[in-house]
Symmetry: C2
Subunit: 149 residues, 2 copies
């Protein structure tokens, strides 16, 4: 039997969040957190709107999911995020002991792989899910931003 709830299914929901960020003029990154095929957090980047460098989609998702669960450790949780997490977000994911992280596009400049940030040994990582879609949205954002300035 085909399982409709695969990584692509949930990454599409993270991409919808990235589109909401895009519409607000934010760097378009979206995230969701899932437990047992249930979405418990939906967030997108709000650094401009909140004037806060810590307001990345992943950071909000971690806070939101912990609030939903009533505990700070995100055991049995999977984060779907459209862009590879940065040092800050990977550091937060480390503390959360999250079970799985799935990201879309790679961030070769500021992503945790390039920066050498450590995730928790318990955390499984999958990259490249709907990477082209996430990347295309980022490119559209930066091209439009450049043309406006």
């Amino acid at each position: 039997m085909i399982n409709p709830f695969d990584d692509t299914y949930f990454m599409k929901k993270a991409l919808q969040e990235a589109e909401l960020a895009y519409e607000k003029g934010e760097i378009p990154v979206g995230a969701i957190i899932v437990v047992k095929d249930r979405v418990i957090a939906r967030t997108h980047n709000l650094t401009e709107l909140l004037n806060d460098v810590t307001a990345h989609a992943e950071m909000q998702a971690i806070t939101s999911a912990a609030n939903f669960l009533g505990g700070k450790y995100l055991l049995n949780c999977t984060l779907y995020v459209t862009l590879e997490p940065c040092q800050m977000c990977a550091g937060a994911l480390y503390w959360s002991q999250i079970s799985k992280v799935v990201y879309g596009a790679s961030d070769v400049q500021r992503g945790f792989n390039t920066m050498g940030t450590q995730l928790h040994p318990k955390t499984e990582v999958v990259g490249g899910v709907l990477a082209e879609e996430a990347s295309a949205l980022m490119k559209r954002f930066f091209i439009e931003k450049r043309n406006l300035n």
Copy 2:
């Protein structure tokens, strides 16, 4: 003329915040952010109370200072924090482009130096200010916690 507003002066204020965390049963880390000898943020670790791994003193201080300044970049700001920042907090400080980071005790296990997290090239770093006081408070906390369990 002696300047009363030196790093030790401000670190004492960060230590006062760490003591507030201690009284709440939180790992006792405190932080303040200063602009032109004026304290614009005072925070302490609240990860237990908020059930949120992202509620480190530094993260709250960055959000609070940016809110006060009305902008997300912490130019001309100095963070005083009683413990060496972790990957997450160093990653957030990177994005903030903060001018100076002063920390007390080193965290040889989880500190950004050991973990290899990059701060912004603009950021000056000073470690070891009132390190013994900060370290003694941490030790007291963990000894008491062990005895309670």
